[in-house]
């Protein structure tokens, strides 16, 4: 089956790296459609993306990574795509791994395919404290959602039609990666991790900086627990 696949590149002030990410995706033989979601950048992200030949969804205000991704997902749903892949605009996600994620969806093996850098422990492994945090979320997911996800903060993921239908309706605004796993699992979607090799970021800043990492842990924990409670009552 040929999957109509959309590559969504969320970008907030990534003028230095976004064009390179687009070029990499364009270099793949699969010929995926690309859409860059410019999350209200104040630099030349939009111009760089357009010049590289990508279609740009331009948000008039900064919504955060979740709101930006949902814009891309909604675009995919309206244009009837079978599969949407998130590839961050900072260059951490290597384009040559995209076909592996898509093939998992295409084969019907999963509704959500998550690229994990910890399954085979190759490439960029992040810092010790970050890995500790990821372990903690792995534990939360195992308890609440009964899924094992080794790299829950990974934004490198492919969503099939069923997953797209869900995120079209609801997707968390802030730090959505971990929370959405609970969302997917409790809605009965099949999640599969695929080993990938990631790089360190090529430019820009992580959305999870050190100063706010405590806030991150606290907020995401709350969000996971409340998403769990909400879904048990069938509210989403």
């Amino acid at each position: 089956m040929v999957m109509k696949t959309l590559i969504i590149i969320p970008a907030y002030n990534e003028e230095l790296s976004v064009a390179r990410v687009i070029k990499e995706v364009q270099g793949l033989s699969a010929g995926y459609d690309i859409v860059v979601v410019d999350d209200g950048s104040s630099d030349r992200t939009r111009e760089e993306a357009k010049r590289a030949g990508a279609r740009v969804l331009q948000l008039p205000i900064n919504l955060g990574i979740g709101g930006a991704m949902q814009t891309g997902f909604r675009y995919a749903v309206r244009r009837d795509y079978d599969c949407a892949v998130q590839v961050d605009g900072d260059g951490q996600h290597p384009a040559n791994e995209i076909p592996r994620l898509v093939s998992v969806i295409a084969a019907g093996g999963a509704d959500v395919a998550i690229g994990s850098r910890f399954l085979e422990k190759k490439g960029f492994q992040s810092t010790f404290s970050r890995r500790l945090g990821i372990r903690y979320f792995q534990f939360l997911h195992q308890v609440l959602a009964r899924v094992r996800v080794t790299d829950s903060t990974s934004g490198f993921r492919a969503l099939g039609r069923r997953a797209l239908a869900i995120v079209d309706g609801y997707y968390p605004d802030e730090f959505p990666e971990s929370e959405s796993i609970v969302l997917f699992a409790l809605r009965g979607l099949k999640i599969r991790e695929v080993p990938v090799v990631m790089r360190g970021r090529q430019g820009g800043e992580s959305s999870i900086r050190r100063l706010i990492s405590l806030y991150y842990m606290f907020k995401v924990t709350l969000a996971i627990i409340f998403t769990y409670l909400r879904l048990r009552k069938g509210r989403i």
Partner: protein, 120 residues
């Protein structure tokens, strides 16, 4: 003397309540606040007005509830009302944020639907 003092505070509180009521009414008329957000304020002011005029009332209610010091009842009621109103505002802000997000997303999607290569 005591009688005169409480007369004074009674007049002051009636005047304050009335001017607050007037202020809220004016804000609604001018469209600066929506009626739905002013209901709480209107009710609260009315209550204040009632107890300003009916002085014995506060004592009676306090006695009935077993509150030893009647004015503390006023503070408690006020703090309670303010807390409720703040929670209400949080709900409103959350809803506004969601609506704003959806509006922004729709703008981005509509702009894209106009097609590529259009002059900016």
């Amino acid at each position: 003397m005591r009688e005169l003092l409480s007369m004074k505070i009674q007049i002051v509180s009636i005047l304050v309540s009335l001017s607050f009521l007037f202020l809220i009414a004016r804000l609604i008329v001018r469209g600066k606040i929506r009626e739905e957000y002013s209901i709480v304020w209107l009710c609260l002011t009315m209550l204040l007005l009632v107890f300003s005029i009916w002085r014995e009332g506060l004592n009676a209610v306090a006695r009935w509830l077993g509150v030893f010091y009647p004015p503390s009842l006023v503070f408690m009621a006020a703090i309670f009302a303010i807390t409720i109103f703040l929670v209400h505002l949080s709900i409103v802000v959350t809803r506004l944020q969601r609506q704003l997000k959806e509006a922004a997303q729709e703008i981005a999607l509509l702009k894209a639907a106009e097609g590529p290569g259009r002059p900016e």
